[in-house]
């Protein structure tokens, strides 16, 4: 009963703020304070709508073998940070272009081969090397 009431209240507030945010269709310079305050509600809402991180699966994707102790230790920290990331979910970004990097030149150079003078130094850093190959173990995929 109590939790249901709380949910209804939160939803009503969220709806009200969404309605109000329609007065600011373009965010060109700064975020209206109301939108900033809106973050806390949306954070809760958005986090519950996105599944939490599946750490073993992430570790597999990232190719890092985690011990069970590490999984146990890292999982709550990652969860906490991901929830904190959720602050960005409530901002109206409809007409905002993503900035991939600083506004800077992209000075490509010509596509011409060049000889690197220190090839021996590159090879010297390879952990397992048998001229002319870099050795790796067999490739197996269970997926």
């Amino acid at each position: 009963m109590t939790s249901k009431g709380l949910l209804r209240g939160a939803s009503l507030t969220a709806n009200a703020v969404w309605h109000r945010s329609s007065f600011f269709p373009k965010v060109t310079v700064s975020v209206h304070p109301k939108l900033v305050k809106f973050q806390s509600f949306s954070s809760t809402t958005a986090c519950s709508s996105l599944p939490p991180p599946d750490l073993p699966r992430l570790a597999k994707t990232a190719q890092i073998s985690l011990t069970p102790n590490e999984v146990e230790e890292i999982a709550p920290k990652i969860q906490q940070v991901i929830e904190w990331f959720g602050q960005l979910q409530g901002i109206d970004l409809e007409s905002v272009e993503p900035s991939i990097r600083a506004e800077t030149e992209n000075n490509l150079r010509g596509n011409a081969p060049e000889t690197f003078d220190h090839r021996d130094a590159l090879i010297a850093s390879v952990p397992s090397y048998e001229e002319p190959y870099i050795k790796v173990p067999r490739v197996l995929s269970m997926d």
Binding site: Q63, H118, P137
Partner: protein
């Protein structure tokens, strides 16, 4: 006055000024013979009437994620223990070409991830102002070594505060240049859209000279700018030649979100004193509100962890770095990375893997890039109405080793930030330094250096020499 017989042996003793077991520069110091041979070569050039370059004999430290061909470069990580790059980074090459003596590599948080330098896989670095405290991070070793006068200047890197915050904690000048002003070739990538090589010096003039040395287009970095590099040194006038209001007309904006709740009272006091100092120099100072400022930190972290998870995938134990033997390739990857990376790095790679995953990319990474646009636009507008913006460089002075705070003020690529020592708070033997952050428009480093120089030279009753050095000088 031969360098090899007079100066260098004395300089060698400075390299070990910070006591063991908390060195900041010890990991990769070259043999004494290497330094002496540098000095002998310079002596020979001078004797032959050649110009040895503006950095002749200047001791330079290099953060350990910036490649040096003659010393290991580990980025503070076990995965690169003993790794020797086959080339010098462009910034290192330029310093050497001007006669600089690259004396050693400095300690850092692993791959730049951290704000205390405690995340180094090798050792903890002490703050010269109080050896029980951290130097800040991730360029803590570079800042501490300049503060301790082990080096004259040093190179660091800054992705989200890693030059500015240690500059504040160690009481030195730190400069993050405009993204693109300095080549990133040879800087081990953390977050490519945010990384910048930055400079530390014990004065604005030294820092500006170092920036001038390393700045300029490089064909090996497609994002390096072809804009002309101005002569930064022309801005450094003697204090005696300054008029009474040398900064008359300069508009200074104090970012009010950076001096509210959560900021140490002593830091706020020091920043307000700095604002008063600007007024005495003829500036108009007003408070600027940037409501989007608070969005910067989560957006920064999403961008940084996303890009780093991609960048750090190159450390797989195959072509270089530590390898864990295994019968299958997947196990080799997984084991090498598990053993080579520290906990903080693992965590960030995993978070970045999550934020770039299918189904989450738009919710996290893309939104963070959109927020970046909003913040960039906010700063642009603020920098149209003000010549510079100021704020604390960090919410507090240096904390104790082990205290483990981890929230640098996040900043954005495209702008330039310089941190100046500007005051002290209680702590340690002689107080702890507090840094003032100054933010300027893109590619306008010259103006920021000019303002910083005047601020520094006219600041009274403040001399930012840590006790460990002052005692040595007195003797």
């Amino acid at each position: 006055m031969l360098l090899s017989t007079l100066q260098t042996p004395r300089s060698l003793s400075r390299l070990t000024r910070l006591p063991h077991p908390l060195p900041s520069a010890a990991p990769h110091l070259p043999d004494d013979d290497v330094l002496l041979s540098h000095a002998r070569r310079l002596d020979a050039q001078i004797a032959a009437g050649e110009d040895p370059g503006p950095f002749a004999g200047v001791l330079v430290g290099v953060k350990d994620n910036i490649c040096t061909a003659d010393m290991p470069s580990t980025a503070g990580s076990r995965i690169l223990e003993g790794y020797r790059a086959p080339f010098d980074a462009t910034a290192v090459k330029r310093v050497r070409e001007l006669g600089g003596v690259v004396v050693g590599k400095t300690n850092m948080d692993e791959f730049g991830m951290g704000s205390t330098t405690e995340a180094s896989a090798f050792q903890v670095t002490a703050n010269p102002w109080d050896e029980s405290r951290v130097p800040g991070g991730s360029s803590g070793g570079s800042a501490a070594a300049v503060s301790a006068r082990q080096f004259v200047v040093s190179l660091g890197s800054d992705t989200g505060g890693s030059v500015r915050q240690p500059a504040s904690f160690c009481g030195v000048v730190g400069l993050k240049p405009t993204y693109g002003r300095v080549s990133r070739f040879g800087l081990m990538a953390y977050a490519s859209s945010l990384d910048a090589i930055g400079c530390f010096g014990s004065s604005v003039a030294d820092t500006g000279i170092l920036l001038h040395a390393i700045a300029g287009h490089d064909r090996f970095d497609a994002t390096s700018s072809k804009q002309d590099v101005p002569d930064f040194q022309s801005h450094f006038h003697s204090v005696s030649s300054l008029e009474s209001k040398p900064l008359k007309g300069l508009r200074v904006g104090l970012i009010c979100e950076t001096i509210d709740d959560g900021i140490d009272a002593g830091v706020i006091s020091a920043i307000r004193a700095a604002a008063l100092h600007f007024e005495e120099l003829g500036c108009s100072v007003n408070e600027v509100s940037l409501p989007s400022f608070s969005l910067g930190l989560p957006a920064y972290y999403i961008l940084a962890v996303s890009e780093s998870s991609s960048n750090l995938s190159r450390y797989d134990g195959i072509r270089y770095g530590n390898q864990v033997y295994a019968d299958e390739l997947d196990s080799l990857y997984g084991g090498s990375r598990a053993k080579g990376f520290g906990s903080e790095v693992k965590m960030r790679i995993l978070m970045g893997t999550y934020s770039l995953s299918a189904g989450y990319y738009d919710a996290y990474y893309k939104r963070a890039q959109q927020v970046r646009t909003i913040i960039r636009n906010s700063f642009k507008e603020a920098l149209n109405q003000n010549d510079i913006l100021i704020s604390p460089a960090a919410p507090s002075a240096a904390y104790k080793i082990g205290e483990k705070k981890n929230s640098p003020l996040a900043m954005y690529a495209g702008d330039i930030m310089t941190v100046l020592p500007c005051g002290f708070v209680e702590g340690g033997h002689a107080g702890l330094p507090v840094g003032l952050q100054m933010i300027g428009a893109a590619f306008n480093e010259g103006e920021l250096l000019r303002v910083g120089h005047i601020f520094e030279q006219t600041l009274e009753n403040c001399r930012f020499v840590p006790p460990i050095v002052a005692d040595d000088i007195a003797y």
